[in-house]
């Protein structure tokens, strides 16, 4: 570890709607190191998926990347042309989506959909592409892969479809895999299988993974580092073990209190009061201030900067500023 595969810096992606400008991604920065799995965690609507689409250059109207940098392999992807980006997409960066049924095209066979990827990126064609596709499917743990090549998505089970989608995403040997809620649409038993599969191919192929999820269980089990997002911003970032053990940001602390613990009926679940802010009318200060139990005046007026409070621990909160918080020492959960 050490060298960064992907660096997102001050990314802003806005959507113009009739209600005004929706700042879905508003100054997101994080780094993903080679060989690691970085989890992007947050509630739905916090901007995780838009961040992923921005990296892929797939934000469509009315969305627009306003500014920022997406550094990948020493280049800023945001400066690349559409045709250059097409070589990156599916080639050097693969992407897996949430719902495998709606993500595979219902009118094309598995073969067509995998071979198409191999051909477009010049990896293989004709008979070779077919053989390679079968190998890929086998590597994804699909039994009778040769026969499954002619199958259509509706003829496969949910788990199979997700395996096919992963096969497509990694078919061209990408360096980076973006997995957007890869298990959310699956049964719990399948979730574990698919996550194990992702972990396995990561080891085998030396992949780096950006894992988008709202499931803290998956974060703790399958990722090395995590970036917690709230209302379009990363509020806390660090190694998973530390971050879950000692969350710094009040939002992360609140999030952890919402997770039920097996065998601990005595620990009550505490929901975070209030609701996610309206993205078209964000509060002027800290995005979380209206719901934060520890907020004071400064939080409501001034947006905190991201600070490195310890080695590789970043947090966007006034409590960790130079100026001491009027409240007590940060609570440890």
């Amino acid at each position: 570890m050490g060298e960064a595969v992907l660096g997102v810096r001050d990314l802003h992606t806005h959507f113009s709607t009739y209600r005004g400008v929706l700042r879905a991604v508003d100054g997101v920065s994080f780094e993903l190191k080679r060989g690691e799995t970085l989890a992007l965690v947050g509630e739905s609507g916090c901007g995780k998926s838009v961040t992923a689409l921005s990296i892929m250059g797939l934000v469509r109207r009315p969305g627009r990347i306003v500014r920022g940098e997406v550094l990948f392999g020493g280049e800023d992807l945001l400066r690349k042309s559409q045709s250059e980006m097409r070589r990156v997409r599916g080639g050097r960066i693969g992407m897996v989506f949430q719902d495998p049924l709606s993500t595979l095209n219902p009118t094309f066979s598995v073969e067509t959909q995998i071979v198409e990827s191999l051909r477009i990126h010049g990896v293989a064609k004709g008979k070779e592409a077919r053989e390679r596709s079968i190998e890929l499917l086998e590597a994804m743990g699909i039994p009778a892969a040769r026969e499954r090549m002619g199958a259509y998505p509706h003829e496969l089970s949910g788990g199979m479809r997700q395996r096919v989608m992963i096969a497509i995403a990694v078919s061209c040997e990408p360096e980076l895999l973006i997995a957007d809620e890869p298990t959310t649409a699956l049964d719990v038993t399948l979730q574990a299988q698919i996550m194990d599969l992702l972990a396995e191919i990561k080891e085998e192929r030396g992949l780096s993974i950006a894992l988008i999820t709202h499931d803290l269980g998956i974060v703790s089990q399958f990722s090395d580092r995590a970036a917690v997002m709230y209302a379009g911003q990363v509020v806390e970032q660090g190694a998973v073990a530390e971050l879950l053990e000692e969350p710094l940001h009040p939002y992360t602390q609140g999030l952890l209190r919402c997770v039920p613990r097996l065998g601990r009926a005595d620990v009550a679940l505490t929901p975070i009061e209030g609701s996610v802010p309206d993205m078209a009318a964000l509060p002027p200060g800290c995005r979380f201030a209206p719901r934060c139990p520890k907020a004071w005046d400064r939080c409501r007026d001034e947006l905190p900067e991201m600070r490195e409070v310890k080695d590789d621990r970043f947090v966007r909160c006034h409590m960790y500023g130079e100026e001491e918080s009027p409240m007590d020492e940060p609570e440890v959960v």
């Binding site: 080639g91 095209n105 219902p106 009118t107 094309f108 990827s117 477009i120 497509i168």
Partner: protein
Amino acid sequence: MWGRFVTRRLIQLIPVLLGVSFIVFFTMHLTPGDPIEHMLGQAGHVTQEQIEELRGHYGLDRPLVVQYGLFVGNAARGDFGLSYSHHGRAVASVVRERLPATLELTLFAFVMALVFAIPAGVIASLRPQGVFDRGATIGALLGISMPGFWLGIVLMIVFGLQRNWLPISGRIDLAVVPPARTGLYTLDALLSGNGAAFWSALKHMVLPGLAMAAPMAAMVMRMVRSSMIGVLAQDYVQFARAKGLPERTVVGKHALRNALIPTVNIVALQTGLLLSGNMIIETVFQYPGLGKLAVDAIGAADYPLVQAVVLIYAVSYVLLNVGADALHAVLDPRVRVA
């Protein structure tokens, strides 16, 4: 699989034809007008005996039910009787003479409508509410709202009479009629290498073809547009982009194929309307096809001819639907199982 599918659908055709023939037969006989009087109208003095003799000749003196039975029995063997209004010629031969004209014109209008409607629908869907989309929407509204006979007359006046660009009646310049092989003049002209005949036949189809194609193009365009908008928002379109496919493959392959599935039915329905619409258009343009033949036959109370033409329309409708179902199965693997 296809063999069974087609056989099953063709067997289903039989009750449809029986039903259609029954309705047409009896409604024709219910309408006022006596075919014998039509026939003898210009003959001057005729005796009652001559009238009765003619009635006997055409079998019109038998009870209706018997007449119907005979009609069905003969029709099953391809014999549709004798036409009252075409000097007693066999209906089958009169129809055979006119059918190619209508087929050719309908096919021309069909191709023209689709060649315009599908790309226009796709382009409109790429930028909903954009300039092209708004323009196309207005165009479609016009296409749907203008009655065919009115549009036909306007086209005649503007392009035929005022500009004299295109012929306004007939199928071809009579001086260049190509040797008959298929009866489709454009095809016959190509087969015999007769360029002048080809252009003449094509030019004669432009105005009636446009008048027929306009409403179909409008409907199909709107359908393609709305289903494309739905499909373009699907995850598999996003995934196709994430695979690195160029936008034209994403739109033209991944999205369009899915968008065409619901469009097929509209196309089949609209093609049926093209067929029935040609009664009006062929009459307006004096185009010697089945539609004009039917209108004239109705005026002349020519029962056998009307029955035969209406049966042809009914068969075409059913075949169109069989075709649509087959195409559906080709496009969408999910319906192939059933």
